[in-house]
């Protein structure tokens, strides 16, 4: 390799090591007991055992999974149907609806969370999976709809005409033709929604307060602020919460890129 390329390799190597260091720190620290951590050497599973004893890990993971899966499925249904309608099945006033939904993309969750919280207290939707799911769906749907609209706009009109020639109505064109070719866009929506919902603290903290409905991320946040678990135990929990997001992320990496760059290229 010429010296310039060796130099680039070295810079990238050093940057990667610095970026990965916190993960190494989490892994090594979680494999020590509190006293071993203070000593700076040793190896034990004590902190992992402590974590599983003081936190209902399985229950919280299940809660996270239920909330994420339901929210994402609902977002997918709403966004694909609305996206198809706004791109292909035009009706009077569709431009206005599109504007409203795209406008919704600008609304940060912090701006609506206070009225939403008070409304949901009245509707008994606090400490109920469905309450948190509704908030995630409301905040996630505008961008997902925008993404699906953009995707369906790229579907050639000829394909839809062909479906109609085969005697399909617009509903049939949507389910038989548009949906099957939208799989990559659906994957993009899944990955772009999964990471923020899995990692969310604010909505979970307010809408899922009780331990039996709490998600893993909220559990970790509460654990960190309550200081009942040792630092190695906290590192074990941190590592555990990172795994699902990292796995989804690695599997869907390709779709993450296409979703993220949509705004730059269109």
């Amino acid at each position: 390799m010429p010296p310039g390329r060796v130099f680039i390799f070295l810079i990238l190597f050093v940057v990667s090591v610095v970026i990965m260091y916190p993960f190494y720190f989490m892994a090594v620290t979680s494999m020590r007991s509190q006293s071993q951590y203070e000593l700076g050497k040793g190896f034990s599973f004590a902190s992992w055992i402590q974590l599983f004893q003081s936190v209902p890990v399985a229950k919280e993971m299940l809660n996270s999974l239920i909330v994420c899966a339901c929210a994402i499925v609902i977002i997918l249904v709403l966004a694909t149907s609305a996206g198809f309608a706004l791109a292909k099945a035009h009706f009077r006033g569709h431009g206005f609806v599109l504007l409203g939904i795209v406008g919704g993309m600008m609304i940060p969750v912090q701006s609506i969370i206070i009225p939403e919280y008070v409304n949901f207290v009245g509707l008994h939707l606090i400490n109920n999976y469905f309450g948190a799911i509704l908030v995630y769906v409301a905040v996630g749907t505008p961008f997902a709809t925008f993404l699906m609209t953009t995707y369906f706009r790229g579907v050639p009109e000829e394909l839809i005409d062909a479906g109609r020639c085969d005697g399909l109505g617009y509903g049939g064109v949507f389910t038989r033709i548009a949906l099957p070719i939208a799989k990559p866009a659906l994957a993009t929506v899944v990955v772009l929604q999964f990471i923020p919902i899995w990692n969310d603290l604010l909505v979970g903290l307010l809408f899922l307060q009780e331990p039996n409905v709490r998600t893993f991320t909220v559990g970790l946040g509460v654990l960190a602020s309550s200081r009942v678990v040792s630092i190695p135990g906290l590192m074990a929990g941190s590592l555990l919460s990172t795994i699902p997001a990292a796995v989804i992320y690695i599997i869907f990496q390709r779709y993450l890129v296409s979703g993220l760059t949509l705004g730059a290229s269109k």
Partner: protein, 309 residues
């Protein structure tokens, strides 16, 4: 998009599409309305209505149970409060981290774009923090910035002992710690977007520049940067929006807004006012201020993007 009468149609038992146009149009608009209805309803009821409520309640002394109308004077009172400006100042300081993130991102992307041995592994390593929750970053951040933490030991081993201190102990250094963690988390996304952008540039452009005797640095500044203008605007906007609205979990776990409001940004201030002190009206008001700021950033993006056509 109306039915195209000129399309060649295969022989089917159906009449020609053109002949069926009126009923197809009716079917199209009916199906369209049916399909858009659920999403429009959810967005209206759970996003637009709460915004309306927030605007109304921002002008009251709402405590979550009862609210008395006070009028737009609540905004004047807020804009006269030094604490409000203190919080916005923290946001302004955090915004300084945005260009840093962009610069790191574009530099790393340019280096990755050289496709040196193992670049795919490096790309994966650089992007991994994107998947990590801010809660985890906050928990690890406390360890990193503590008196005996990672940063101090790194500084110590570089011989920079005079820089060592408890980073989370004083307002400005705690805010710096939040900003560093912010850069760490967002550098990956920035890099990923710039890598994608660079892949769209025709390699022959670089080849021509090289034949003209341009150095690597010259082709980077004179070719790559101008060609990626849209990507710069886009990453700037998403990074700036994150700086305003994605750091709640980090601040909650790492600093709780302290010391002495040193790391309280407007989004954390909203939470504190409403759920810490019960001032729901003030929280709603701050939420509207945040919405106005973020909408301005988004509109700026649209203007810049349409100009760079």
């Amino acid at each position: 998009m109306s039915v195209k009468p000129g399309v060649d149609l295969p022989e089917t038992s159906q009449e020609s599409v053109a002949g069926k146009a009126p009923s197809f149009n009716r079917d199209r608009s009916r199906t369209g309305i049916l399909l858009v209805l659920p999403a429009a309803a959810v967005v209206s009821v759970f996003l637009l209505v709460p915004i309306g409520e927030a605007i109304y309640y921002s002008m009251t002394n709402w405590n979550g149970l009862s609210a008395q109308w006070e009028g737009p004077s609540t905004y004047v009172t807020m804009f006269k409060d030094p604490l409000f400006w203190r919080v916005l100042e923290n946001n302004a300081v955090l915004l300084l981290a945005v260009p840093v993130t962009l610069m790191c991102g574009v530099t790393l992307a340019a280096l990755l774009n050289e496709h040196v041995w193992g670049w795919r592994i490096f790309r994966a390593a650089i992007i991994v923090p994107t998947a990590v929750s801010w809660v985890v970053l906050g928990v690890v951040g406390i360890q990193a910035f503590a008196q005996n933490g990672m940063l101090n030991s790194m500084l110590g081993s570089l011989g920079l002992h005079f820089l060592e201190h408890n980073w989370l102990g004083s307002p400005l250094s705690a805010l710096t710690a939040v900003a560093i963690t912010f850069v760490y988390s967002l550098v990956g996304v920035n890099t990923l977007i710039f890598v994608t952008g660079m892949a769209t540039i025709d390699p022959s452009v670089y080849e021509a520049a090289r034949l003209d005797g341009a150095t690597w640095w010259q082709s980077f500044t004179k070719l790559t940067v101008p060609l990626l203008k849209r990507y710069f605007v886009f990453t700037f906007v998403i990074t700036a929006i994150s700086a305003f609205s994605a750091l709640f979990s980090l601040i909650f776990t790492m600093t709780s807004g302290g010391p002495n409001y040193g790391t309280t940004t407007i989004e954390f201030f909203i939470y504190q006012q409403a759920f810490g002190t019960g001032a729901f009206g003030t929280g709603a008001l701050l939420g509207i201020v945040l919405l106005v700021i973020l909408s301005s950033v988004s509109l700026m993006q649209l203007r810049l993007m349409s100009r760079s056509e």
